[in-house]
């Protein structure tokens, strides 16, 4: 992270807690770049997170108010704070397991209410913190510490889920698409209503090493290769399409 | 425990027993009494047996539920059968719906036959007002609350649409009560 962003970091924070190759650290910087671009007042920003590696992205690192809650409950806590003080810009940054599994009900209900929260899901398709167990976002067939033979179930498409539930800004980008992702975060911040960004973030430690992508750079390269924009799908064969991850703004 | 009067209103769900109890208790509060009221709740209040109990006292009420009734209003046979034994002998009073409840003859309790349902169908064109007709009769006979207080209670707790019907039912009930007295 460049010196220019230092003012957004809580004094006393010396390092980030993430593993080498983890995408969460990149996302941590990209969110701040979006905030910096918009000249947001950190004093009026509240960052809410649940439990997991991703929940550490804002807490305690960001120099606004941070509320590091319980596993799955970030959106519920955030709802209370936002409703009582609508002047706060409330951003929820948490993991895929946290937001979509244990907290899945809060996610769809907040989307239904179209409450003005900016929800950023750091999606590494795995339970990172607890040692790489299968998540509701793990691709079918992937190996995890609880699906040695490969995940037998389909993952959620989180964007479709929240869109169906009533979210009014929905996007998916990978940390390997930094420019687009920063743009998207800025739009989410400016959007009035429930905004959701599914951010693909590699986890070489827990996901990669079980799925033949052990080296950090391999996971990054894999994401770069697989993430495409909606408009690029055309002309791809069925087979090629199957392994792609479609990114872009789905609702804005 | 002097100065305590225990009233039990009973019937089946839908007869307005709970509302009648609420009005009676509220009127007692307006009269400056200490009141403790409780009633059937949940499925009971909608289903077969429904009751509402109001304790009137000049001072704070210790045990707030009914122990033995001084007054029982029975709007259905089922309620009568269930509660008629629970009324104070000699000093107690039972008001029952004439034509719908057949009283027992072996109880040493004063009974008054009030044709509340009949009258509310014939004179008020609305069976639902029988509860308030009973209240009117009860108040006239026992003076347990003042007429002014019960009218005020109706204005506080009954929606505007039904206020005049209820006030009329009260008057009709009080007339019935007067006939009983005389």
């Amino acid at each position: 992270m460049t010196r220019a962003l230092e003012k957004y970091i809580r004094p006393g924070v010396k390092s980030t807690p993430f593993c080498p190759g983890c995408g969460h650290g990149i996302l941590m910087g990209l969110i701040l770049r979006a905030i910096d671009d918009l000249k947001m007042e950190m004093k009026k920003m509240l960052f809410v997170s649940g439990i997991g590696c991703a929940a550490w992205i804002p807490s305690p690192h960001y120099n606004g108010d941070t509320l590091h809650t319980l596993h799955g409950r970030a959106i519920a806590f955030a709802t209370g704070a936002k409703l009582y003080n609508p002047d706060l810009c409330v951003m929820v940054v948490s993991g895929d397991g946290d937001l979509s599994s244990i907290g899945g009900n809060h996610l769809i209900h907040a989307a239904r209410r179209n409450i003005d929260l900016k929800v950023i899901c750091a999606n590494n398709m795995i339970y990172g913190m607890t040692g790489g167990q299968v998540a509701s976002t793990t691709p079918k067939g992937s190996r995890t510490s609880t699906t040695g033979e490969g995940n037998p179930y389909r993952p959620f498409d989180l964007c479709k889920l929240v869109e169906g539930a009533g979210a009014t800004y929905v996007a998916r980008f990978s940390v390997t698409q930094p420019i687009l992702l920063i743009q998207s975060i800025k739009k989410a911040i400016l959007h009035k209503g429930f905004s959701f960004i599914d951010v693909l973030s590699p986890c070489p430690t827990q996901y990669g090493r079980r799925n033949r992508l052990d080296r950090p750079d391999e996971m990054m390269k894999d994401l770069i290769r697989r993430c495409i924009l909606e408009e690029e799908i055309e002309g791809l064969t069925e087979e090629e399409r199957a392994e792609k991850i479609i990114t872009g703004e789905f609702l804005s | 425990m002097t100065g305590i009067k225990q009233v039990r209103l009973s019937g089946f769900g839908g007869q307005g027993v709970v509302l009648a109890g609420l009005l009676l208790g509220q009127a007692g509060v307006f009269d400056g009494k200490y009141i403790s009221g409780s009633n059937s709740y949940g499925a009971q209040a909608r289903g077969s047996g429904c009751k509402s109990e109001v304790i009137f006292s000049d001072g704070p009420v210790d045990f707030p539920h009914l122990t033995t009734a001084d007054i029982l209003v029975a709007m259905s046979q089922g309620a009568y059968d269930l509660y008629c034994q629970d009324v104070k002998k000699e000093s107690g009073l039972i008001l029952y719906d004439q034509g719908f409840v057949t009283p027992r003859e072996d109880l040493r309790v004063k009974h008054l036959a009030i044709p509340a349902t009949d009258v509310s169908i014939k004179r008020l064109k609305n069976k639902q007002a029988a509860n308030i007709v009973f209240l009117g009769a009860l108040i006239e006979v026992t003076h347990i609350v003042s007429p002014k207080a019960i009218r005020k209670a109706i204005l506080v707790h009954v929606g505007e649409r039904f206020q005049s019907l209820n006030l009329k039912a009260l008057r009709v009930g009080m007339e019935l009560g007067r006939k009983m007295d005389g």
């Binding site: 305690p60 806590f77 | 709740y41 210790d62």
Partner: protein, 379 residues
């Protein structure tokens, strides 16, 4: 602790309120301006009244998707500066426990009203019980304290809900009003005063919001958006909220302080009332609705020249150990009647040398005077 007298938002006077309605009014008078809840018998009327009243006084009401969300939203709102509450009954109270632990550990003021019904599990939803007393204290994991109060009348649903807010703000601790179905639904004459005394949380710019020089101190609590750059976390943290999940001293100190700040202030937190115990040889120790039965029975038996009195616990947690211990020294026998299998009786036994009998009733009904008298005669 700064307190102020304020005009009550509801006109002074005598009303005929159910306990649930009275509690809502007490909350509004205390300054509660945020409610999040989920419907559950027999507490729902409380939520329904809050929906109406918060709109009238310019507060925030929201019906959440479940009880976990409700208490979590309450905690979020509390940090945003609100006096906030929720109400529920057994099953919902169970769901709330993890977040109640969060509130205790992050020292978040909030009020939870549990209108207890007959458990366990879904039990008898419309019937009365008093089986959540231990859960109120021990329901979340780890060592923490809460405050729990026990109202015995509609009036006390008002008074103790108001007090719950005052205590919660003063000590920065989740505070519970352990009501029950019988009290929640009991309509009684209640007096709403013209003015009430309310306590607000202390704010001090720049001061550590999670530490105190005193080992039992209550730190000041700023709100989000005030520029204090708060870091709130349910992990072990230092005075400014930095995670300290490897430091044994920080953990021990924090756990110790959140316990001591309540236990060392027991004297001001705990309220009990005694009736006719001067010459009593037998005493009832009682709380909640059952205390009404108890008072009736004590007065009845006094007329038969029994030397009997009673101690009523208005505060259940922290447990009134001193009052109970003192009583235990004066009387020969104690009877604890309760609508559970002896939750408070067990606690009483820890503090008294005399015989402690327990009258337990778990049939979904209140303990009636004849049952209590019968038990006393047999003792």
């Amino acid at each position: 602790m700064p307190s102020k007298w304020v005009k009550t938002p509801f006109p002074k006077g005598r009303y005929y309120f159910s306990g649930n309605e009275a509690a809502a009014e007490g909350a509004i008078a205390a300054g509660c301006r945020f409610y999040a809840g989920y419907p559950i018998t027999p507490s729902s009327e409380l939520m329904e009244r809050m929906a109406v009243r918060l709109q009238e006084v310019g507060g925030v009401f929201i019906q959440m998707e479940d009880e976990i969300a409700s208490i979590s939203a309450v905690i979020g709102a509390s940090w945003a500066g609100a006096k906030a509450m929720t109400a529920t009954s057994g099953p919902g109270f169970s769901l709330m426990q993890e977040s109640i632990g969060y509130a205790a550990f992050t020292e978040t003021p909030c009020v939870i009203i549990d209108v207890q019904r007959a458990g366990p599990c879904t039990g008898q939803a419309t019937k009365v019980g008093s089986g959540d007393i231990m859960q109120a204290k021990w329901g979340s994991h780890g060592d923490y304290q809460v405050i729990a109060l026990s109202p015995w009348s509609s009036q006390e649903m008002y008074d103790l809900t108001l007090r719950a807010f005052n205590l919660s703000e003063t000590y920065r601790v989740p505070t519970m009003v352990m009501a029950d179905e019988a009290i929640g639904h009991l309509r009684e004459t209640i007096q709403i005063p013209s003015r009430v005394e309310i306590f607000d949380r202390m704010k001090r710019k720049g001061r550590a919001p999670f530490d105190s020089e005193e080992e039992d101190g209550v730190p000041p609590m700023p709100s989000f958006g005030e520029g204090e750059r708060l870091a709130v976390t349910g992990s072990t943290h230092d005075g400014f909220g930095f995670r300290k999940t490897d430091d044994p001293q920080v953990h021990a100190r924090l756990v110790s302080r959140i316990n001591k700040k309540i236990l060392n202030h027991r004297r001001t937190i705990i309220e009990t009332e005694d009736y006719l115990i001067e010459d009593a040889e037998i005493a009832l120790i009682t709380y909640g609705f059952t205390a009404r039965t108890s008072l009736y029975v004590v007065k009845r038996l006094r007329k038969e020249d029994w030397k009997i009195g009673m101690l009523r616990l208005k505060t259940l947690w922290p447990f009134p150990d001193e009052a109970v211990a003192q009583l235990g020294k004066r009387v020969r026998k104690i009877l604890v009647p309760e609508m559970n299998l002896g939750q408070v009786a067990g606690e009483v036994r820890k503090y008294v040398p005399c015989d402690v009998h327990s009258l337990t009733q778990t049939n979904g009904e209140v303990i009636r005077p004849d049952v209590l008298i019968e038990t006393l005669r047999r003792m």
